[in-house]
């Protein structure tokens, strides 16, 4: 539980942090696309009897760079690129899972998240890569913001937009991979979007929206993990339902004021 809690806190910080940049770019579907590719990484890890998280990080990072390359050459729209990679990742997963003798309990925990399966090595990798993600965003914050708001003007101001966009998709890939243990592959996209959209209802600036989204994600993860532990509920589903509940409350509060 302690390991899941610490990993959950790290994810509650980095998932909405990255999610804010994806949502304003209308590119949030990349989280779902990469999560389907992450499933292939888990299957490869189980097939090779190696640590699935490491394989997943490598596979999703490679896929994210490929997605960005295809999107940035403008010959295929970003939406179409994601529409190709999402079923592609799922198809590869299905084939690989059939080779590992179908769905077992371990694979099931990756799909929907579990608080009992976070190994010590998973925790250290999550904390290490999570902190790296956090500091990368802080370091490149203004450039990420400029490239998200106005790509052309960012280029004219001398920013290497291609490099910044690649950083964003790689950080997304890392976040998706790290989140699958606690939140689950099928639900991580929700944690990168729902607290962000909720924060945007209240934020009077982009930074304020980020702070709100972090607050909402941390609340959902902390309360969700306690509920999952004491009520024996699946962690990912509980956290996502709580995030939706917070969104509903904020939307109601906004409407009534």
């Amino acid at each position: 539980m302690i390991r899941a809690f610490l990993a959950g806190l790290m994810i509650a910080v980095i998932a909405p942090l990255i999610g804010n940049f994806l949502v304003v770019r209308r590119f949030s579907l990349i989280a779902d696309t990469l999560s389907h590719i992450a499933l292939s990484g888990v299957a490869i890890g189980l097939l090779l009897k190696t640590q699935p998280l490491v394989v997943t990080v490598i596979l999703t990072v490679i896929a994210s760079v490929a997605i960005e390359k295809l999107r940035s050459n403008k010959k295929i729209s970003g939406e179409a690129v994601l529409a190709m990679f999402l079923p592609g990742g799922l198809a590869l997963s299905i084939v690989l899972i059939s080779l590992v003798n179908g769905l077992n309990a371990n694979l099931f925990s990756y799909l929907f998240g579990s608080i009992t399966t976070v190994a010590e090595s998973d925790l250290w990798l999550t904390l290490g890569l999570g902190i790296l993600t956090l500091f990368t965003v802080i370091f490149f914050y203004k450039k990420l913001l400029f490239a998200s708001f106005d790509e052309e003007s960012a280029k004219v101001s001398g920013i290497s937009v291609g490099f910044i966009n690649t950083i964003l998709v790689v950080l997304t890939a890392i976040t998706v991979s790290l989140s699958m243990r606690v939140i689950g592959i099928l639900l991580i996209g929700a944690l990168m979007v729902i607290p962000v959209v909720t924060g945007m209802q209240l934020g009077r600036s982009f930074l304020q929206s980020i702070y709100f989204s972090l607050g909402f994600a941390l609340t959902a993860v902390i309360v969700g993990l306690f509920m999952a532990y004491y009520l024996n509920l699946p962690a990912g589903g509980t956290i996502v339902l709580l995030s939706l509940g917070i969104f509903g409350l904020v939307a109601f509060f906004k409407r009534s004021h």
Partner: protein
């Protein structure tokens, strides 16, 4: 190259999928000038602007910025760019005015000074999406002014801006040109308005049709070449 030419476009051509967008264009922008680049829709104005900004590479010819070949030019802070609108959908972007001005790396004091220059300082905490079209353009100018550029390039800056705001907007540009000695290049399809605001006009219709003082060009038959014989000017004052 003369010392006072800060942009030199030499024999530049560009084709989209084999179709010429601009052909053999030669043009100089001199220090302190307020140049209007005009032409009908699809005439290649925006293509020329993108080549000047290094966003497109010409297939023929070359561009020099501040005496340097554009391919080796690094000092982009000398050039401020004011786009027609933000690249993203601003209605879903919760960004404040001061964040827009500061996104290029400007500090608090520079943001304040830039907003004061465009008379938008009192709006710094407001959401960008809540501003009118004219106010948003002023914020883009403030962002472009933050790194203290020597040349400001504006792409159709008054599209979607009401006529009163346009008048104030052009007054602001004239002030920047005169008081801050900023060189301005403005791309527009609105010959009528631009001709009364700028010091020089370059008319583009795939080729450079004319280049000179607005009064000389309006008197000549260049406008017929540019817009066709049916063109009739209805001049409105500003």
């Amino acid at each position: 190259m003369k010392d006072d030419a800060i942009v030199k476009i030499s024999d530049v051509s560009f084709r989209y999928n084999g179709e010429p967008a601009i052909s053999n264009i030669n043009l100089e922008i001199k220090r302190g000038e307020f140049l209007g680049i005009i032409g009908p829709n699809g005439s290649g104005k925006t293509t020329l602007l993108k080549i000047m900004l290094g966003l497109l590479k010409p297939q023929k010819g070359y561009v020099q910025l501040f005496g340097q070949d554009i391919n080796s030019f690094k000092d982009w802070s000398k050039i401020g760019y004011v786009p027609q609108k933000a690249g993203s959908d601003v209605t879903n972007f919760p960004i404040s005015v001061e964040e827009v001005v500061g996104m290029g790396g400007a500090d608090h004091e520079t943001i304040t000074n830039s907003l004061v220059k465009v008379e938008m300082a009192e709006h710094r905490k407001r959401l960008f999406r809540e501003l009118s079209g004219g106010q948003q353009q002023r914020v883009f100018i403030a962002r472009a002014l933050a790194p203290k550029p020597e040349l400001l390039i504006l792409d159709e800056p008054t599209v979607g801006v009401d006529i009163n705001s346009q008048t104030k907007f052009y007054q602001l540009l004239r002030d920047l040109n005169r008081n801050l000695k900023l060189t301005l290049a403005l791309v527009s399809h609105d010959i009528d308005v631009v001709a009364h605001e700028v010091g020089e006009i370059a008319c583009i219709n795939c080729k450079l049709v004319c280049h000179g003082k607005p009064k000389d060009i309006l008197k000549s038959n260049f406008m017929e070449k540019l817009y066709g014989k049916e063109l009739r000017f209805v001049l409105h004052g500003h």
